[in-house]
């Protein structure tokens, strides 16, 4: 049976070049970077070199890169750290309704501790309106966090504008770039963000590694304790092999970004056209301001988990925003925030393309999907 992986927004395989770069650090170069002996000094030198390489790719300085265990930890350090480091008397925080839980949940935790939280709405495409942000910013605002691109529907936010407005109001701006780093061009001399989160395993690096970019002069308070690593903001022995792998993954992703993007946009648009040509299948997210590899559709009268399982039986790996697949009682908060009704949210299907995706994969999905959808619809009690 054909095997088609279309869940690259969930995770990606480690590239061979990345794996090869990591192996020595899991075996002979196993030193702890905090040790004073030769093995330790070698590990220290190599992770600092990796930090420099990542910084160079993003037009940042090495000391602005803090290694973390991944995107969620970077989000937590940015959000709780910004609050802990703030000298403002105000207690106002701003985020959007479509953030990843790695951002939403820290903010909700702070709200329960007495901070005032504004959650900005989005339009039907999942876009935040900069005018809405401008209205809520005040001298009390400590931090604004809005993701660069959404993990479910792929919508790309006007970060430049949102960050500029935030800075003008004297607050810090954080963006979760887990889905966009290495996929969209990022130049941190151009993009006026103070904090940015990224993850290794979304860009063909290993799981368990990511980083937080912290612009020079951005004050963060410590949120975990137990060591001086990463400026005491992420105490604990560094994930040396992960860091080495991450640096290689970022370099490769940036080098291939333009070409990969062009190829994926062609395949993405072919898949979108094919799926939305089926009766009552509609696109979620923005038609143009969209990650190159993201396809998200709602299939009427059909539930997402059933679709996933039936596609899986044909060798196709995808995901959904239905409640069943989120492990929660409600379907995706992102789709509901965009104004979809419960049926459309339960019937959503996300297909995310990546390096391994070929035109034959897309053709196979378009060949198999209509029969699966029809089969499930014949079982459905819902009428239009």
């Amino acid at each position: 049976m054909q095997s088609v992986y279309l869940d690259h927004a969930a995770t990606t395989p480690v590239r061979e070049e990345v794996f090869a770069a990591m192996v020595p650090y899991l075996t002979e170069k196993f030193g702890n970077p905090s040790s004073l002996h030769a093995l330790g000094r070698e590990a220290r030198r190599d992770i600092e070199e990796a930090r420099g390489r990542i910084a160079r790719e993003l037009n940042a300085s090495p000391q602005e890169i803090l290694f973390t265990s991944g995107g969620t930890e970077a989000d937590n350090i940015a959000i709780f750290g910004a609050v802990a480091g703030s000298k403002k008397p105000g207690k106002h925080l701003v985020t959007s309704a479509i953030e990843h839980h790695g951002v939403l949940h820290p903010f909700q935790a702070l709200e329960s501790r007495g901070y005032r939280l504004t959650v900005l709405p989005v339009d039907k495409y999942g876009l935040v309106d900069p005018g809405e942000l401008e209205k809520v910013l005040s001298p009390e605002t400590i931090l604004v966090s809005i993701m660069q691109a959404n993990n479910e529907v792929g919508t790309i936010q006007p970060i430049q504008e949102l960050a500029t407005l935030t800075r003008a109001a004297g607050a810090l701006f954080h963006t979760d770039a887990v889905q966009s780093l290495g996929i969209l061009p990022i130049d941190l001399q151009e993009l006026p963000v103070d904090l940015l989160s990224a993850s290794g395993h979304k860009l063909y690096g290993p799981k368990g590694i990511g980083f937080l970019y912290r612009r020079k002069g951005t004050k963060l308070g410590p949120t975990a304790f137990g060591g001086a690593q990463e400026n005491s903001l992420r105490p604990g022995t560094e994930n040396v092999a992960g860091i080495i792998g991450l640096a290689r993954a970022v370099e490769l992703a940036v080098a291939e970004q333009a070409e990969t993007s062009k190829r994926l946009i062609y395949l993405r648009d072919k898949l979108i056209a094919g799926l939305t040509a089926l009766p009552q299948v509609t696109l979620n997210g923005h038609p143009r301001l969209r990650l190159p590899g993201n396809v998200n559709v709602s299939v009427s009268r059909v539930e997402g988990e059933s679709l996933i399982l039936r596609l899986d039986l044909k060798g196709i790996a995808v995901s959904s925003g239905s409640a069943c697949t989120s492990g929660a009682l409600d379907p995706s908060h992102v789709l509901l925030a965009m104004g979809l009704n419960h049926q459309a949210a339960h019937g959503s299907l996300r297909l995310t393309l990546g390096r391994s995706t070929t035109e034959a994969d897309i053709d196979y999905v378009l060949q198999v999907a209509p029969g699966i959808i029809e089969g499930l619809r014949q079982m459905s009690p819902i009428v239009d």
């Binding site: 539930e303 059933s306 409640a323 069943c324 492990g327 049926q343 339960h346 079982m379």
Partner: protein, 126 residues
Amino acid sequence: MYSEKVMDHFQNPRNVGVLPDADGVGEVGNMRCGDIMRLYIKIGKDETIEDIKFQTFGCGAAIATSSMITEIVKGMSLAEAEKVSNRQVAEELDGLPPVKMHCSNLAADALKAAIANYRENRGASS
């Protein structure tokens, strides 16, 4: 995460469809949770379930439990069929993941609703 039996009933659901001359129809679930089941029953002599069909919008567990209950109660007397519980349906499928036990394990409730509907219909016509 699903047992082989669940996957079998999900892939090859038994008794899917509508009974145009059903004696009772029961529907449970709601769109908020994302599971809606509808059962149709045809009652034969001695109050036995002569035929049963289902339509379900929902996850793998919702479809499998719907299919399973049609197999369990086909040919049963109403008195026996009424005693079938959601838990029993799940057990016949070699269990369901814990998260599915309350949200997608509603087939026995749908059957009870269909039987109640049959009794109402009969009461109204006699």
